[in-house]
């Protein structure tokens, strides 16, 4: 009996973990339709590491979804996108020591993508980032 339960839960969890992403993205695209240009930048430059659901890859690429780093360190986040990020950081209590290269984005693209990622996957940010704000962030 226990064995059965094990197998069923196991199967269900596996299925769930692979398919859950799909449902969420449709809901998300409706909610974030105001951030199309930011989503475009994200799909172009960020998605292969931080993933379509913003959850990153365990131990390798930190999450942006519900990321305490992104949501509480606004200037550092802008700086990391503008100039790259290297060395130990902590995101939601987990340590990362990777490297994110500079992507060569314009200030406008950086403000767009910041507004998209801070308003997706349950993140909420009403104080939108402006191009001018990005231009003032120094290395």
């Amino acid at each position: 009996m226990i064995k059965y339960r094990f197998i069923i839960t196991f199967g269900a969890t596996l299925l769930f973990s692979c398919y859950s992403e799909k449902k969420k993205t449709t809901a998300e695209s409706i909610r974030t339709q105001d951030f199309v240009s930011g989503k475009q930048v994200y799909d172009d430059f960020c998605i292969n590491c931080h993933m379509v659901n913003g959850k990153g890859v365990p131990n390798i690429f930190p999450p942006l979804a519900s990321s305490d780093y992104l949501m509480s360190k606004r200037e550092e986040s802008i700086r990391s996108i503008k100039y790259g990020l290297k060395g130990p950081i902590e995101v939601n209590g987990k340590k990362y020591n990777g490297v994110m290269a500079q992507q060569g984005l314009s200030n406008k693209e950086i403000s767009d993508v910041m507004n998209y990622i801070t308003n997706s996957w349950n993140n909420k940010n009403v104080e939108l980032v402006t191009e001018n704000e990005v231009s003032k962030v120094q290395q």
């Binding site: 839960t9 692979c18 993205t25 799909d43 172009d44 379509v52 365990p58 984005l105």
Partner: protein, 367 residues
């Protein structure tokens, strides 16, 4: 913790990792020595006759490494450093000893439109500066998309110059259209002119440098040491990374057929095969994100001789592929967890050298 709790834990752990990881077993009987320390992104490298190394850094830097010293070679053309674009592969002319030609691939902003696209240039090095620069190819049009520049460069046994360009994030327009650049493998003569017997020279409006098409983003290309065929691998989207043997005029199917899905998990196509389109020799699902490629042709690694090595950007290891009868029959993780592997070469001494992001170039050792 009770047994049951442990198993729930186990399930949870598995469910988090299943979608992201692959199953290749780890080989721990290998290691490395750092040969060139402190590089950011050694996209490509080539050994000169004196065994010193020319290294490209993606950020747009060409380095000559000799006697444990790095010298920056100046005179590079303007480079479009954005997304996956920058200074890419480097290769020597087969007669480098006599003519000194160095070939390199890079993302170039040259042209009318905003953005950039992949270019191939050759030049000679004099007093640590590039001279006699000749632009041999520049894909058009430019685009501000950040993806899929390719590019690898290889010379075949007849001295032809082969290179790859990815589809630049425009999969529904570029790879299946012979009148457009991108999503192709190209063949030129060493001076950049187009061989008369290229497969599409008689096709109206075709880009006649094209040798094969229907590619997504090939970042590995190598001459097979025995058959002398051109082997490539390419990134799939989510799943469906491929190894292919490149034949003139063939269509490798992207995006009409693929084993991959969209990043979102939605389908690209139901088809994995179609008449008139080539099947890959091997494919990876989940994607390992392959970059760099080399065959072991020397006797330095015992019975690994004849194996194919492929770098994994995503999972941070060197994939040892055992080949038999034109198939990959076994894969194993070497240098597990070393970092993002960008480039792989067999050196003139028969040892395997691996370019790792934010580490440097290392020499593979087997214990």
């Amino acid at each position: 913790m009770k047994l049951k709790n442990i198993s729930y834990f186990f399930i949870l752990f598995l469910s988090v990792t299943t979608c992201a990881q692959d199953k290749n077993t780890i080989n721990t009987k290998n290691s490395y020595e750092i040969v060139v320390p402190e590089l950011n992104n050694p996209w490509g490298f080539a050994f000169l006759p004196d065994h010193s190394i020319l290294i490209t850094e993606k950020e747009g830097k060409l380095i000559h490494f000799k006697d444990n010293l790095k010298t920056v070679i100046s005179g590079l053309p303007e480079i479009y450093v954005r997304g996956q674009g920058g200074l890419l592969d480097i290769a020597l002319h087969p007669n480098y000893k006599d003519n000194g030609w160095v070939y390199f691939a890079y993302a170039s902003p040259k042209g009318e439109e905003r953005g950039g696209n992949t270019a191939i240039m050759r030049a000679k090095i004099k007093n640590n500066t590039l001279v006699n620069k000749q632009l041999l190819y520049k894909a058009t049009p430019n685009t501000t998309r950040g993806q899929h520049f390719g590019s690898r460069i290889v010379f075949d046994v007849n001295g032809y110059l082969f290179f790859t360009i990815g589809e630049r994030g425009n999969r529904d327009v570029n790879p299946q259209d012979l009148t457009r650049d991108c999503g192709k493998v190209y063949r030129l003569k060493d001076d950049g002119t187009i061989p008369k017997d290229n497969p599409f020279v008689n096709v109206a409006n075709a880009k006649t440098a094209i040798y094969s098409y229907g590619h997504r983003n090939p970042q590995g290309m190598e001459l097979h040491p025995i058959t002398k065929d051109i082997w490539t691998h390419e990134h799939g989207p989510r799943g469906g990374d491929e190894i292919n043997i490149i034949k003139p005029g063939k269509n490798y199917g992207w995006p009409t057929i693929t084993h991959g899905k969209n990043y979102s998990g939605t389908k690209i196509t139901d088809k994995t095969a179609k008449k008139g389109m080539e099947q890959p020799l091997h494919y990876w699902t989940p994607s390992i994100a392959p970059s760099g490629m080399a065959f072991i042709s020397s006797n330095k690694y015992g019975d690994w001789k004849g194996n194919l090595l492929v770098g994994s950007l995503k999972f941070n290891y060197l994939d040892r592929c055992v080949l038999k009868d034109g198939k990959v029959i076994k894969e194993e993780r070497l240098l597990d967890d070393i970092g993002r592997i960008r480039s792989v070469e067999e050196g003139p001494d028969g040892f395997i050298y691996v370019g790792v992001e934010n580490l440097g170039i290392v020499k593979l050792t087997r214990s």
